[in-house]
């Protein structure tokens, strides 16, 4: 594949150093209004940026100590993490915190300088709805399979999955399944690629992939690729780089990645980069952001684009991190 992509025009080569610089610049944009409007995503953004750097082979491009300091400064007494200091604790930022600490190998620091793993586990476990098995995002009660996956992701990294009722959660996911093999945000909701990723990944973590109708789901997922090579998230919708991750990782988990045209998807993702200033956008020619940058890169990594570190399809983190943390 490497040889083949060298033959592509220059703008379709991966602009690795531009992407690294783009990610490094993200925290220096304090004179941009958007920087302040997106503070509620700061910890998620750090996870996206750091994962992108790891996949690009530049894990040291963000300073480790400052990264850990920032993550720990977001932690509350409850054990949960907010998006930034002064923001309330939430499942989404808590999961990002755990993922970041896992990537920089700093669970020890969570123990010595933070509130400790056990407290984080307790915070997450308390968000499970013990009747239905699903999870809320925070104390105010919004429920979504995104939060269930987040809980499984973080708890399994911490080795604390036993704190929650895994069987109940699995039952809940099964109740979200649809006739087309996909999964929705809650029982009754239509299949959506993002939600399929969360449900299939959670089932994979729970060791219950036997519940997935792989033929039917694989068919639905493969039909997400449309003319131009990009993937959409639902039937009759536009393509978007972030679905290069949600759809592709789900296909990978059920062993059906070969059901789409990989080369066309690679070319689509590469057309979405800004080769000069770095970063990847949703569609060619649009404004880049760190969200589409990481999911574009993670997609390329799953597609074995040359020069990228392998990504874990369940955790959206480097395979090397998952191997170290889970000891496999």
């Amino acid at each position: 594949m490497a040889a083949k992509f060298k033959q592509l025009p220059e703008e379709l080569q991966l602009a690795t150093s531009a992407h690294v610089k783009y990610i490094q610049s993200l925290d220096t944009r304090k004179d941009e209004y958007d920087y302040w409007l997106t503070e509620h995503l700061r910890l998620n953004g750090l996870y996206w940026g750091l994962t992108a750097l790891h996949l690009l082979g530049h894990p040291e491009a963000l300073p480790r100590t400052e990264t850990i300091d920032f993550v720990l400064s977001c932690q509350h007494e409850s054990g949960g993490f907010g998006a930034a200091p002064g923001h309330d604790a939430h499942m989404l930022s808590t999961v990002s915190a755990v993922q970041i600490l896992a990537m920089v190998d700093a669970f020890d620091e969570l123990e010595s300088r933070g509130k400790g793993k056990a407290q984080v586990g307790k915070y997450i476990a308390n968000l499970q709805n013990r009747q239905t098995g699903t999870f809320a995002g925070d104390e105010w009660g919004e429920e979504d399979t995104r939060f269930l996956y987040g809980a499984f992701n973080a708890l399994s990294l911490l080795g604390l999955l036993h704190l929650v009722d895994v069987d109940k959660a699995v039952d809940h996911i099964a109740a979200c399944a649809n006739f087309d093999g996909g999964y929705g945000v809650s029982p009754g909701a239509e299949s959506h690629a993002g939600q399929i990723f969360t449900c299939v990944a959670a089932l994979t973590i729970a060791g219950r992939q036997d519940l997935v109708d792989k033929e039917r789901l694989g068919r639905w997922l493969s039909e997400r690729q449309i003319a131009g090579g990009g993937l959409n998230g639902r039937p009759e919708k536009k393509e978007d780089v972030c679905y290069s991750w949600w759809v592709l990782s789900s296909l990978e988990m059920i062993g059906k990645t070969h059901w789409i045209d990989k080369d066309q998807l690679i070319a689509f993702i590469l057309r979405c980069q800004d080769p000069e200033r770095g970063g990847i956008s949703d569609r060619p020619g649009d404004m880049v952001d760190v969200w589409h940058t990481v999911f574009g890169l993670a997609g390329l990594s799953l597609l074995q684009y040359p020069g990228l570190q392998p990504v874990d399809e369940v955790y959206c983190m480097p395979k090397s991190t998952i191997a170290r943390v889970l000891g496999r």
Partner: protein
């Protein structure tokens, strides 16, 4: 992972370099925004959930509805000050006169955007009043507390409307609105709470009118219906109305997978509630098949339509109660139905030779016939299947890996 808030969808890249003038304008916006944010934060750090703090959250959320912590501050303002206490007892909250609900508070679902919560400061006085006169009797006269809560709830619902119209995919606004609606159940007489929830169907329709595929709005509608059906709102089934709603959505636009999906979810319940017998179920299936076939005749390249057709066909293939809404059909009937569908699809080939979904349907349904009859494809079926696969490979090379797998499976069944 997290939601997509804050990411750039569909904004052209050309705007990436700013002029000095733009930069200065940004700096001024940042200054104003941060000043407001600092004010809220310093009040929160002193646990000040007063009407003034509440007003500041209105301002800040209009700048940035994604700021979830500020929605939480707003909730805390309401709980610790403005709402009466949700428990039965004497109505002694006369001190609530300082509470001045917005004079533009809406009383009907028609005027969503006219209400403004900045004019609705919470009332710290009621915090000390204790027991309120909330009662479950819908006919009981409204107490001051009830009225206060009702006004506040309506005002909050009004506050989120312009924000939702502006950011229809913002999870936090939808979730705040549902929290307010839950307060209605907890704090208002059932009949009053029910009226408020009923009006939410209007909002869901309005949002789906603007974007027929918005899955937040579909999910919201589903949740509202569930609540309206539940005992906490003295509800009963709305399945017929829900089915009619999908009908009207489909009528205005055949290519709405969300509506077809919703329909597929309602059918089993609909038939159960109609106490439909085998004949009625069969008639229902015939009607649905006619309907979707007619649609496919017009738009055979539309995936949404084929997915619904697949749903109907799967109810012929499955035979457990949870897989089908027509369990009464005999094996022979089911095979008959399938064969009929296959013939109908073959007819499509006269008008459309290059639509891959047609060949995929033929291939899949023929395999189902063999599965139902518990046999391998016969020689003529084998030939058909191989020809359709060849066509699929030709028309849809993107999914060649799948066609190759199907080819391999077919060869295995041919033995």
């Amino acid at each position: 992972m997290a939601d997509q808030g804050g990411s750039q969808h569909g904004i052209a890249r050309s705007s990436r370099v700013r002029t000095e003038e733009q930069r200065l304008r940004d700096l001024e916006k940042i200054r104003k925004y941060r000043e407001l944010e600092d004010q809220v934060r310093s009040r929160v750090s002193q646990r000040d959930y007063s009407p003034e703090t509440f007003q500041l959250t209105s301002k800040l959320l209009r700048f940035n509805p994604e700021y979830y912590t500020i929605w939480n501050v707003r909730r805390r303002c309401l709980i610790s000050g403005s709402f009466s206490k949700p428990s039965a007892g004497s109505s002694c909250s006369k001190g609530s006169s300082s509470f001045s609900p917005s004079d533009t508070t809406t009383t009907s679902s028609g005027s969503y955007s006219s209400s403004s919560s900045t004019a609705t400061p919470p009332n710290p006085a009621s915090q000390t009043v204790g027991k309120s006169g909330i009662t479950a009797d819908p006919d009981a006269p409204a107490t001051d507390d009830t009225k206060q809560d009702l006004d506040l709830i309506r005002s909050e619902l009004g506050f989120t409307i312009p924000l939702l119209l502006q950011s229809p995919k913002c999870y936090w606004i939808w979730s705040y609105r549902l929290w307010i609606l839950r307060q209605a159940i907890e704090r208002l007489p059932v009949a009053t709470a029910r009226r408020i929830w009923e009006e939410e169907l209007g909002l869901a329709s309005k949002m789906l009118g603007r974007d027929r595929r918005n899955f937040h709005a579909w999910g919201y509608r589903r949740h509202v219906v569930e609540q309206l059906e539940s005992s906490s709102l003295q509800g009963s089934s709305l399945v017929e109305a829900g089915f009619e709603y999908t009908e009207s959505m489909i009528k205005s636009d055949l290519s709405n997978f969300s509506a077809w999906h919703s329909r597929s979810k309602l059918i089993p319940r609909l038939l159960d509630e109609r106490a439909a017998d085998g004949t009625a179920r069969r008639a229902f299936l015939d009607k649905e098949l006619d309907k979707i076939r007619e649609a496919i005749n017009v738009g055979p390249e539309d995936q949404s339509l084929w997915y619904y057709h697949q749903f109907l066909v799967l109810s012929l293939v499955g035979h457990d109660r949870d897989q089908t809404f027509i369990p009464e059909l005999s094996l022979q009937d089911r095979v008959g139905y399938l064969k009929h569908e296959i013939e109908e699809i073959k007819d499509l080939l006269e008008d459309y030779q290059d639509i891959k979904l047609i060949y995929e349907g033929l291939f899949e349904y023929t395999i189902y016939v063999c599965q139902l009859e518990g046999r391998r494809p016969n020689a003529s079926e084998q030939a058909d299947l191989a020809a359709w696969l060849a066509k699929l490979k030709e028309l849809d090379p993107m999914r060649n890996g799948r066609w190759t797998d199907l080819e391999r499976d077919l060869a295995a069944t041919a033995g």
